[in-house]
């Protein structure tokens, strides 16, 4: 097979989008930050990837990036999956000067598909989420105009009822990801399909969280040091995924040995299950930092 010819970066303006598109995104981003959790409409542009593959996050990131930025892209915690690697290459192609990285600590802008890095992000870092469904109310109200009214009035009664019905039917709130989260005690957001594990990281963070939904044409934000409370009842507290085995012991990552991270379940060819950190960079760094501790753990 013939190797694909490398395209010249100069065939695009910096950041692929035209300046008017970037300005519109920037105005929407500022309003999104000023009204935490409110979904600001914007004219989502056609991008060279299909809608549903992260066009919202892509446009937000392109509106942010300057030639002094370092960008990291993760897909479910992985830097090397097709979606992440190709978006990262795209940034390098259309934003000359932007550094690519897989290290969380080095990045100034991180675009993510459905995870928040394990390592707490700093105040000089921005996390950009790719969002498929921006509206948490979509499960209880099909009419978009009505949903906007309900958001404006902070009327989430029907969402509470849905959670209550879950408790009645299943003795548990059955939402595994996209957990409705209340921002600054007003708007309830869909925090994109991050696992429950990541929801508490939205609360009083140091970094800025930006959410871009390309197909649904909405941008919203959670500013730093802002309360973000997952909806829950006073007698049924919110809880994250349980990684304990049948004996009640916390499972450890098979690679780095960490017992405080979100784990992916991997099925072997023979049907055996293994567990490994979802955040690859964090896992690699932990494994590098603690080789002695790891060997002692695996010996035990």
């Amino acid at each position: 097979m013939r190797a694909r010819r490398r395209r010249k970066p100069a065939s695009y303006g910096f950041g692929f989008l035209d300046e008017n598109a970037k300005k519109e995104l920037r105005r929407a981003l500022l309003k999104a930050v000023a009204i935490p959790g409110h979904q600001v409409p914007y004219a989502s542009r056609e991008m060279p990837i299909a809608r549903g593959f992260g066009t919202g996050g892509l446009q937000v990131t392109l509106a942010l990036l300057g030639d002094d930025d370092t960008v990291k892209v993760i897909d479910q915690g992985s830097d090397v999956s097709v979606n992440a690697a190709n978006l990262r290459k795209f940034f390098a192609l259309v934003c000359p000067g932007v550094q690519e990285t897989t290290r969380t600590t080095e990045a100034t802008v991180i675009q993510t598909r459905h995870r928040i890095p394990e390592q707490r992000l700093r105040d000089d870092q921005i996390l950009v989420f790719q969002v498929p469904y921006p509206d948490a109310l979509v499960v209880v109200e099909p009419n978009a105009a009505k949903r906007r009214e309900m958001h404006g009035a902070a009327n989430y009664a029907r969402l509470w009822t849905k959670l209550y019905e879950d408790m009645v039917a299943f003795d548990e709130i059955t939402i595994s990801h996209r957990y409705p989260t209340r921002i600054a005690r007003h708007y309830v957001i869909d925090p994109s399909p991050i696992p429950r594990w990541d929801v508490p990281k939205l609360h009083m963070a140091d970094c800025l969280y930006l959410f871009g939904a390309g197909r649904e044409k909405r941008i919203y934000a959670v500013p730093p040091h802002t309360p973000a409370e997952p909806l829950s009842f006073s007698d049924v507290p919110f809880r994250v995924e349980d990684f304990n085995d049948e004996h009640g012991h916390r499972r450890a990552c098979a690679h780095c040995g960490a017992t405080d991270t979100f784990l992916d379940e991997l099925l072997g060819a023979d049907g055996t299950k293994a567990y490994q950190c979802s955040d690859i960079d964090h896992c690699t760094q932990t494994a590098k930092a603690e080789p002695c501790e790891r060997s002692s753990k695996s010996a035990a």
Binding site: A34, I35, G66, R148, G152
Partner: protein, 193 residues
Amino acid sequence: MTTALDVPAIYRPKHQQRLFRQLLDCMARPGSVADLAAWTGGAPAALAVLAALCDSEVSLADPQRLLTGGDWDFLECRQSPVAQARFIFVDGTTAPAADLEPALGALTTPEQGATIVIRVSGLGTTGQKVRLSGPGIAAQCELGLGTLHPGWLDQRAVWCRFFPLGVDLVVCDESRVAALPRTTRVTQMGMHR
């Protein structure tokens, strides 16, 4: 005639990206003051903010006629009465005019509340001192608003009474900028010495 070679720095894409990032940081962290001098090429910070955000898609009101014809040519935005403007540019050293009624947005479209860019001097260090709390601020912080007339803060409190409706303020002196989004709670503390 102005050619592409002598377009003022604040209208160049690279500078506008840097200005925007500083502004985004200020909006996300009310009370923080950013110095834009490295990217304005000597232009006033307030004009730089407008340059970074405005284009032919938006309306701008300039009730005190602070902008020159040349500024309007470069900004490319539509002139508009205050009540309909997305952006409003004013001088903050005098009290707000009694008939100044910016758009506050609606319950379903609060993002249509205006962004008011206010020109003062001595931001951050002198003048009217305020204590801020709310989203973006760890606990609380203090900010000196320079020569900003206290009437603006009273008026802002009225405009931002019913969240999510309200206006967002961007306060600028010659080279520095700070933001007061509608969520920020402001307590006036008297004057800096």
